[in-house]
């Protein structure tokens, strides 16, 4: 794999974690049915993942793989505590079960080993930041589209939508919209 700055910044578009790699689908499909929920999810995901992967990058590679994965998950679970307290302070209870599940998302337990920790140290943080931004961008787009079409609002403010499709707030619509967005992504960034 080419370790240069161009592949590092691919995380936002070409190597978008959700659209190109198919990771962390569940929270987007179920939780992102409004823009505020998508923003909350993005914030929680960003905090947990950025801190977990950054801290875990200092663990020595001499530790066996099985134990390293356990350490990554435990680190993420410990970081989850202040993030959950912050969310509860801000009354962000809308994500429900998917907030604690972010501690074992693919970034932390899989993608970190396969991609991030193979990058040079100076590229790790920008790459991580852009990959997380890619996830957040996807979540925001899906949340925005679903909120407009299902509820006719943006962040709770009513917009003039002639026909509402309330079924789009259900998980099935999340799958279909995400599939269509993946296809659009592939159209603009075809696989080499």
């Amino acid at each position: 794999m080419k370790q240069n700055k161009f592949s590092a910044i691919d995380g936002l578009f070409r190597r978008n974690a959700v659209l190109a790699e198919g990771m962390v689908i569940a929270p987007i499909v179920v939780c992102c049915d409004t823009l505020p929920k998508a923003l909350i999810l993005s914030l929680a995901f960003a905090c947990i993942t950025f801190l977990s992967v950054s801290i875990a990058s200092f663990f020595p590679k001499s530790i066996p793989y099985a134990l390293r994965i356990i350490l990554y998950a435990i680190t993420s679970s410990l970081i989850y505590i202040p993030v959950a307290m912050l969310c509860s302070y801000l009354n962000f209870a809308v994500i429900g079960m998917y907030l604690p599940l972010l501690t074992v998302n693919s970034f932390v337990v899989l993608h970190s080993e396969l991609y991030f920790y193979k990058l040079q140290k100076r590229l790790l943080l920008p790459a991580l930041f852009l990959h997380i931004a890619g996830f957040c961008l996807t979540a925001v787009i899906i949340g925005l589209v679903r909120e407009i079409l299902a509820y006719g609002t943006i962040c709770g403010r009513v917009v003039d939508v002639p026909v509402l499709m309330q079924g789009l707030s259900a998980p099935w619509a999340g799958f279909i919209l995400l599939g269509i967005l993946c296809a659009v992504h592939r159209k603009f960034f075809p696989k080499k």
Binding site: G22, M23, I25, A26, V29, V30, Y65, A66, I69, I70, A73, I74, S76, S77, L78, Y80, I81, A84, M85, M97, P100, L101, T103, V104, N105, S106, V109, G167, A170, P171, W172, A173, G174, F175, I176, L178, G179, I180, C182, A183, V184, R186, K187, P190
Partner: protein
Amino acid sequence: MWIFTVFLSLLADNLIFTKALGTSTLMAASKSRSNLLILSLMMSLFSVAGCMLTTILYWSIPLLRHESVMVESLFSPILYTAVISVIYIVVLLLLYALSGKWFSTIKKYVHLSAFNCAVMGVMHLCFAPERFLTGSFVPTDFLGMSMPVMDARTVYGSLLFGIQMGLGFLLASLFLLAVRKRLYAPEVPAAFRGFPAILVYIGLLSMAIHAITV
């Protein structure tokens, strides 16, 4: 008619179709029949063992019965991670001791099955806060039968819950395995071929299931 009750209950409570948990693992499982069998078994094993071990710890350690530990779910990720970690190490050691030359083939399935949203999701669902907040536990049915057996605070109940979730994952994998070749067919537009078509396919099945439960 019982078989349809079981079939629909596996779909209505399905981790994939209703909660989108384990979708990435599902795609790996549907690549071949061997993947399907082994991953489904592994997922069920981790789900069942995780739920049962957590139940045993719940009754053995008084601190865990404190409301803030289980109900607030602030510490639940650490607890579940610790439980899964123990099971993960035990399974790896057992496989290394018993499977010999197959260990290098099977261990990747263990890695995929252990720390993923599906298994953690099963444990969160098994010990969902609403089961404790009301004070009186509302048991659910096993496979749609009207037998209130699934009290997650018992080992037997958590065993059945884990089995049900594992069977649901297996069923979802079978659904995807049945049409996987057609989703990669040359007739499918290049932009949709593969992963996007799989997502749309799962969405359409989820739509049909939602139409029953709405």
